[in-house]
């Protein structure tokens, strides 16, 4: 409650530019999704709610004992189908976000629809300094299921 009031106060104090930044940075702040409601989240929300946990809010990735790849200035982004394959099938430590046939207690409620996968790919490829013109469609993602 008080968080909400604070936010409103901050919005009122800030100029339009700052408002954008704040709204942007905090858009992952509505963690009240269930599996059912999350299926309506759009590409940007999917990025803010899931992807940025590892790939970071600025999509620049991170380095520790290992690293999370940047999703900006990364030549692999040239292929939206590559990105779709990674999201659908997972890659190394990255879990698959495709709906699972066998339920897993730890992974199965974080799944994305083909529309969401297409949207988040298109979102990433047109933000964070990425300027790819071609888009991937939900149908193309659908055709890639193993």
């Amino acid at each position: 409650m008080s968080g909400k009031t604070n936010k409103i106060r901050r919005w009122m104090l800030c100029g339009a530019f700052l408002w954008c930044c704040l709204a942007h940075a905090q858009s992952s702040d509505n963690a009240s999704y269930s599996r059912a409601t999350f299926s309506s989240a759009n590409g940007e929300t999917v990025f803010r709610s899931i992807c940025q946990g590892c790939h970071m809010p600025d999509a620049k990735g991170a380095k520790g004992a290992g690293s999370y790849p940047a999703l900006t200035g990364n030549p692999r982004l040239a292929s939206p189908s590559y990105m779709a394959a990674v999201i659908l099938n997972g890659r190394r430590d990255m879990p698959s976000f495709a709906p699972k046939a066998v339920k897993d207690r730890f992974l199965d409620d974080a799944t994305l629809t083909d529309e969401q996968i297409a949207e988040v790919i298109n979102y990433i490829r047109s933000h964070f300094g990425n300027q790819y013109d071609n888009r991937i469609s939900a149908q193309e993602v659908a055709s890639m299921h193993r």
Binding site: S32, S49, R92, D93, R105
Partner: protein, 535 residues
């Protein structure tokens, strides 16, 4: 007698299935077995590794539980041991955050834990089942004192934002009412002769008797307001002494409300093998185990060492690493053998010359998202106001659990509770927030269960495991398919390299998996060493 028992229990199981009583637990057990979660530890005793040629060396990568156990045993057996560890401390995921500790997560945000002295949270493992003989034996050897960890607390809450107007219910109430109504229903069904084809008349008598006992039914086999049911679900007014002391029984919730609430979903949590009484925790925090190993193995562990490549040849293994306190300088360590306990999330990114089969196995295991949040409050209101001493409240809110400390009972002053323990979608969402946002959210959601939060909250720490620089995820999640295809390949010794850790076990995410995999791997390395010496 045994045969009769057996026949009856088969029928009983069918009966219970029919009404769906055990469906939840059975399904859960099945799911957990496939993960290996319900398997008993194979630990028997510390390995006997004597007889290796003097000077035989083993380089251990990672000072988590697997690496520490291996170092301890190999040194004991006369091996020359060196351990490289990425963190500045021993323990890995065996870790407690206390006042004065700092944690910098991936992305660079640093939290300064401000808990009062003696207060802590365990961001990783936090309970020790009594049958995890391996990790318990090292607690004994290292002199780490244990205390009871409370898993089931009948006075803690079951909560759903969508049931009973969002008002949390005591575990005791839901447990008694669910069982009472199910028992009454089954008793009626029996009395109406609907089970005649499945249960003999004689067994029906036994069944009714057991239902009365199990469900707290009255003499007419009804679950109703009265002393019998209140002895399970609690009284409206507890009995006392003197004139004003007459107990007032409480009114059970309706069967429809109990079923519809779905609060029964967490009744069986404490009946899962890993969570059955008695559980333990180290006095002072789970991290005491890693710290004790660290003292024991002083001088053997090189901290702040980030492994950058692992290369073997016919004679040994060379590992390059960077000292993270002076980046840019590469060092090399070499030994006859290498036990690598680096999580697969990180190992899958490192150059390592092992077989294709092992390389594929290393790359086949995704890591789960999980988040834990510790919150400090000005007073232990859960004890003072609500008489909740230890245990867990379950909720369908994104925080999932609130766990009350199993230590410092009844003390005045401040307290730290686990304000969120999250898996799945909500764990991703919380990981994607800043630590500050996570804590704020945990306080907001927790206030729906404990309104005292608003006034009593001071500060907290929040760990999202995918942002942990030393694991990049919580634990390795094996699908059944991946396990069939890759597990054996992961655990085979490849030339002079073997892997260990919870990821190389059928006890994923448990420290016992790390212990038993380490002991298994060093035992096999030792056999090769002995065989090589004889050849």
């Amino acid at each position: 007698m045994e045969d009769d028992d057996c026949k009856f229990s088969m029928k009983r199981r069918d009966l219970l299935r029919m009404i769906g009583l055990t469906a939840g637990t059975a399904a859960m057990y099945q799911a957990m077995s496939s993960l290996g979660l319900a398997a008993e530890s194979t630990f028997k005793q510390s390995p006997q590794l004597q007889g290796a040629p003097k000077g035989t060396s083993v380089l251990i990568l990672g000072a988590g539980i697997a690496g520490l156990v291996a170092a301890y045993e190999l040194r004991q057996a006369g091996y020359k041991v060196q351990v490289l560890e990425y963190n500045h401390r021993p323990g890995g995921r065996n870790w407690s955050l206390r006042g004065g500790d700092r944690f910098t997560e991936l992305g660079g945000l640093t939290q300064h834990c401000q808990f009062d002295p003696g207060l802590y949270i365990n961001p990783g493992p936090w309970r020790l089942p009594y049958h995890h003989h391996g990790i318990l034996s090292y607690c004994k050897k290292l002199g780490v004192p244990l205390e009871a960890y409370v898993q089931v607390n009948h006075n803690a809450y079951l909560h759903s934002a969508k049931a009973f107007g969002g008002k949390p219910q005591r575990y005791r109430t839901i447990n008694a009412d669910y069982r009472g109504h199910v028992a009454e229903l089954l008793a009626k069904t029996t009395q109406q002769g609907k089970l005649d084809t499945q249960v003999s008349k004689e067994d029906q008598e036994l069944l009714l008797e057991s239902l009365r006992e199990w469900g707290a039914l009255d003499r007419n086999l009804a679950y109703v307001r009265g002393a019998t049911s209140s002895d399970r679900r609690g009284y409206e007014q507890d009995p006392g002494g003197g004139l004003s002391a007459k107990p007032v029984p409480s009114e059970p919730l309706s069967a429809k409300d109990v079923l519809g609430s779905r609060l029964w979903a967490n009744l069986a949590a404490g009946e899962i093998y890993e969570f059955q009484t008695t559980l333990f925790q180290p006095v002072g925090g789970m991290g005491r185990i890693g710290e004790a190993f660290g003292r024991e193995l002083k001088g053997l562990i090189r901290y702040n060492a980030k492994v950058t490549s692992i290369q073997q040849d016919d004679h040994g293994v060379s590992v390059t690493y960077e000292d993270t306190t002076s980046p840019g300088h590469t060092h090399t360590a070499r030994a006859d053998w290498c036990l690598c306990t680096i999580p697969l999330s990180i190992l899958s990114q490192l150059p390592i010359n092992v077989s294709q089969a092992m390389t594929d196995a290393i790359a086949a295991v995704p890591y789960a998202a999980s988040v834990k949040i510790g919150l400090q409050f000005k007073r232990r209101f859960w004890e003072e106001d609500e008489q909740i001493y230890g245990g867990i409240s379950y909720t369908d809110l994104p925080i999932s659990n609130i766990s009350y400390p199993s230590t410092g009972f009844h003390s005045s002053g401040k307290g730290v509770l686990l304000g969120a323990y999250i898996w799945g979608l909500n764990a991703y969402e919380f990981t994607a927030m800043t630590p500050e946002q996570r804590i704020r959210k945990a306080v907001e959601y927790g206030s729906q269960i404990h309104p005292q939060y608003a006034r009593e909250f001071e500060h907290g720490v929040a760990v999202g495991w995918h942002r942990s620089p030393f694991t990049m995820g919580c634990f390795g999640v094996w699908s059944e398919e991946a396990r069939t295809q890759h597990y054996d390949n992961l655990c085979q010794i490849d030339g002079r390299i073997a892997l260990a850790g919870e990821h190389a076990s059928y006890l994923p995410a448990w420290q016992e998996g790390a212990v038993t995999s380490a002991i298994d791997a060093i035992g096999r390395i030792h056999q090769r060493v002995i065989a090589g010496a004889r050849a």
